[in-house]
Symmetry: C7
Subunit: 274 residues, 7 copies
């Protein structure tokens, strides 16, 4: 690196200056192009997948911000590198610290990556009833880092997106209404199924039901009862009320028909002595 | 690196220019060749493994996109490297950040690698009944990142492919129909098995059954009953209905033959004093 | 590196001196600007999100400290690098050690990152009733590294923020008051529901109740009872007392109406011999 | 690197050309030698360990493919390196991406390494009955990445090899047939053991039994019964049928001999008042 | 590196010598300054947070030792680096080994980091009753690496600090005394609550009680009893004795008032035939 | 690197040739020396620790193979490095791939390291009865990568050594024979202990017993019985038979002495109305 | 690097020779000094912490071996580095392999680090009764890599030190003797406590008891009994025998005083019809 200082200055000055100019130009060209690409990609995606306009707006703003910060960061690092100011060692000097930060912050990145795909793939939307991990409830907000779920007991759950390994969304499509009912081993299965079918026929007229309900048959042999199963499909979120009403109606019909829902049974063998 | 600037420019200009041209040529040669290789490999694979045409189309489009982006990325990085613009430090400058991103994004890569093999090995296909981890249901979509499974209660499960460590596919081949039935210790095992065999013989004519059903014998000694096992194989997804009907028929036959399905028993030893 | 020592000294002296001056200037410019940015960003955030003034003060002090230390550390490392004192190898010499430290300290970074977002997103505030992991209680302090929760038995829990994977905050909004009550299979479901509705009507006038309470219907068939469910929403933290009073009132009303809350039932079949 | 361009060209042209030729020669020598080594190693291994011819064929094809691709990859990378085209930075440019891929793909490598050893050590072979992790059934295919197991209920399990931490192979050697039978505390242990030994003697003539069965003695004191154990060894996969028949025979013999398999007992102490 | 050996020696000798001197001076300046900073920081911290003098002494000694060793290590590495003896490769030569050590030793670092914060944040102090993970007992010693806890059965638990993910400290503040008591469904809830309130009033005069005790009301409907809850707050570590005495007193008062603590109930429905 | 090609050739030819010769010499010296060291170290170890000759042979062969391959690998890499053929970049070119392989193969290394120590520390030997993790049985083979264990039901378990985190070896020394026996609350503890001691005295003469058996005393108060404990130590693997015989003998003696092994008891309080 | 070969030889020969000599001298100085430091440090530690002489000897031998090997390894690496033989690339050539080894061997390092601290902090000593993880028993050997524990059933457990996350040492100090005893709800609590206190007073004279035993009071209300607790402290390992004797004595005293240890109770409500 020896030589005449001024020579170096002149020579590298021209080279450096040119490089900086090239990069600034590249920056001012890349910036709007990138934003356009984001906007148009999202627009296309929105057309193709019927995403709501609000969602597109949110995603667009988010991505353009991200892109701007990244581009600006690259510009600064590059110019510092061209001028020759030791940004490299500075960053390297943060090595040990950086390792710790890198590991510590990976959870944050993981949150954002997962959050991005939850938004993009529309796995969760506000006001839907979902189960993620051990949390169940109505979604209040889907963020890049955290999803807020309002449990049915009123609790507000903050779930980091990284912990959302699988989403069970209960607000997409018709839901199953299922009633399992035990009858005595002494009753006639045929008779009980006939009574249940009567109840089912009543509920078939109920407009909450999309499909069925129907009597499936003998689901199993319990210790003290024969378990019969009734199954139908209802409009979303109507299944709980429908099941409750079917249970009430079955109880009434069984009472009328004299069919017993049996208590646990036990055969007592008496052994007198002792 | 000192010398006459113009010399350097000329010398390196020729060299750089040649290198860029070589790479551009290589790019325009490699691009279509690669695509052909993908197409023909998939075509061969499809012939060899009887993959459906739709699947081949999906895979082809997916792989060609991946290939194009990768090649273009390589071209850009290489040309920047030849020109001498400091792309390297720029990427290095992203070191600490990169570590975090690398760790955070590994889940995404893991999703894609797993998803690719699920598609390739045809582990899951749309409309099949599968169990992955804690989720069970009918597959609605198999994506590179996420698999959508419709649970039987109507819930839509979004399962990240990385979490699919083992797939249990219930839609490949004949299924087992199994009924365990308890008889009293006071009944004759031989007689009960004969009655069960009668039921089995009835169902053997049922075309849903591919094999059996047959009475296997004494599966175990319960606390209050001797457990007999009946086993058969049915057409796929017919096992649940078949089992239900067999249970109903066994109950009827047992009632006719006076064979008891016993309640829990207890021997009561009475101790009077106190 | 050969040549006349003095030449080197002079040449590099000028270069080094200039660089140091540039960096010192940059430092003294960057320092107050950064602080201003922090202050104004927080001020904006506080306006936008209605954060309490105390919280803003805390965050501001915390961030400015962090920023000052980081900037000073960078300045020192850079100047050492310019002077040419081998800070690099020194840091590299700490390589093996650094790896261990990096891994060991990642938990600390993870604590701070999580703690920062808990503060920023206001997931937890002092005096709220929360559940984090296996710990439940009233929050006494939210720190960058540790959150202190006072359990209801008086225990003080110190929870490292990294272990707070999901926060359940029970102090945000109205809470559910739910009473499940079993009635005998011999009672009329309609009658019992009427009595329960009477109790509900009494409590509707109670100002602790924001919504309901109402009788939902037949929640399930128990082994010895039919389970009816009563549901309402109360002011925050009033749910426990409300539920207790409703239970007491339901018992009284049931006693008046002669509706039985049944004990477990068993049907005894007697088998004499042995 | 300065000097006359043509000089460099000439000088490096000769050197480069020679190196490329050397490498090509090395490649064309190494390629068939390596394949021979694979073939002969496998042949030796097959002789030494009695591996079936089919398995050897599979392994040979697999290893030769692997070897060919690896050698070709090395040749390409080396020639690019000699020519001086910047393959290095290109690969380095994939750094951050590579980290993510490296982590994401480690599962794939883990699959292949484990799969290779499962094949090599013959832990699993097609048509064997195995348990790996939570999956049990008949092996349908052992691949480098995935093992297919057909569960007894007809389900096809796809198990990634990485998840096969321990293999339990139920098709290697004779199997245990074990029957635990409870007798009443009122019966004579000696008498019951004599009856059991009679049953054992009958089954000893059964050619499915390789060893025993024998009466071991008093295995434990149950709450209501004394547990006796009968143990034998059968031909592979005959154990289930053998156990079932033994259970049936023991029940018959016990009925003849008047030995009771007792129901759960309870001593009832009556306390009158209240 | 060519040239006259003596030239190099002279030139580098001066440079090296100067650098070593600078570093030695820096060392002898930094050493006492650092120690002072530690001492004064701790002194300030102790004033601000009321840390006991003994704790400050321990921390001070510990930190000064750590600081001295670190500074000396840095001095040695730096001087070796200046002299040009290849300490770098030596350390690099330990690369593979170092990786293993780095990973293996991270637990140790994790212990120390956690231990440091447990001391600093005063989460645990000697003679306090704490629960960390699965260990409960009286703290005997809090070290940088290990915490010793004396379990109530006399066992001495050595808990590595890294495993202390959350600390439950039972010696900070008043504790809850809680008694749940079941009464018969046949008793009057009002009457039972009145009797319980009488007991509470007696204990309110007990100076161990800081708050309450009070009768909360009907906590739940058990299978055979109505559960009433009594709650109070006592001086630290008095809760167990207080609860025991309250239980005894409640039993006595209930006996006096003729209120029954019911046994499990069962309704027996007799079915004669068989 | 410019200059006259021939000059370079001559100059570097001599240097390179010398280096290669030195390395070849070093190789041919190091190879037998290393083998000798292995042999003699093992011989010494075998003398010192009484390892069986067969084990020493196995270890010796294994270690010499390992050593030979490692040395040859080093020789090849070094010579390629001296010749200047770019083996380095070739290996570096495998960077991303290498990361994946490194992670994927770590399990393999972990297997071998653990396997080596299991062999060296003689934790497991063929024909011993061990429990590793969830697998129990007789060891059939201890390999560097996998341990084969024959379960008592005949299953052959292949356990990767990495999963052997703790070994429980049941074939090292005398084993405990323990019988817990419940007596009625109505019986005299002293009398029952006297009868048990009689049984113990009988078995003390049994040569399978190394120590005891003895009556320890009242181990606990069960819900319906007082649990007494009898304890002894037997020759290895005799404990199961010994326990079975003791149980039989205790039952006989108790029958003689009229001491009851009680059934579960329940006090029935009758409440008439309803 | 060009020039006259002989020149280089002479020049570097002198430099290299000097460096080697310096290092050899440093080695022969450092070796005994280091050993002395180890010896004297241990001697001091032994004085300060009362470590047994045997332990010191073991630790000393172990540390000196470790130190010698490490120093010799450093010497060899350094001299190779000075001579210029390419040890670096050789080690680098082991890169991919090294990564795998590094990860695979980290468990080994973790074993040694943990083992070292277990020895140093005297967490476990031979013949003590400890619980580590799922293993309980008498310590037979504490090694750097593995700890051998003899379970009470005679099994020898080999526990890798890395798996010893927390040590529960049952041989340090007095142990708790605790007896929980249930009395009937019909008995007088006062009377029962008086009888228990009598038993306690008898045992207070027993020299195995260091403290107590005493009657604590009413520990809880069981379903059918009131649980009273007796607590004392005994000499180490005397607690089991002491508890057994106390149980026996309490039973005798209760029999004398007519206090019942109640069987499970049930209130039977009879419902006739059906």
């Amino acid at each position: 690196m020896p030589g005449n200082i001024l020579d170096i200055d002149l020579e590298s000055f021209i080279k450096t200056g040119l490089e900086i100019i090239i990069f600034l130009v590249a920056y001012f060209i890349a910036s709007p192009i990138g934003k356009k690409i984001i906007t148009s990609t999202l627009a296309k995606a929105s057309n193709r997948e019927n995403v709501s306009a609000g969602r597109i707006k949110t995603l667009e703003k988010l991505l353009i911000n991200l892109y701007s910060y990244a581009l600006f960061f690259i510009l600064i690092v590059t110019i510092f590198g061209i001028i020759g100011l030791p940004l490299g060692p500075l960053l390297a000097g943060a090595g040990v610290l950086g390792l710790a930060i890198g590991f510590g912050a990976q959870g944050l990145v993981s949150d954002i990556v997962t959050g991005f795909f939850i938004l993009l793939e529309r796995q969760i939307e506000v006001d839907e009833f979902v189960t993620v991990g051990t949390y169940s409830g109505i979604v209040e907000e889907v963020g890049l880092r955290t999803t807020k779920i309002r449990g049915f007991d009123g609790t507000l759950h903050f779930v980091p997106n990284r912990d959302i390994s699988g989403v069970s969304n209960h607000s997409r499509g018709t839901m199953r209404a299922l009633v399992d009912i035990g009858i005595s081993y002494d009753n006639s299965v045929d008779e009980a199924m006939a009574v249940l079918q009567e109840v089912c026929d009543e509920f078939r007229k109920d407009e909450r039901f999309v499909e069925g309900p129907d009597v499936l048959g003998v689901q199993g042999f319990g210790a003290s009862d024969i378990v019969l199963r009734v199954l139908g499909r209802t409009e979303n979120m109507q299944q709980f009320a429908a099941e409750r009403e079917m249970r009430k109606r079955i109880k009434e019909k069984f009472d009328e028909a004299g069919i017993e829902i049996p208590y646990p049974h036990q055969v007592n063998v008496t052994k007198e002595t002792k």
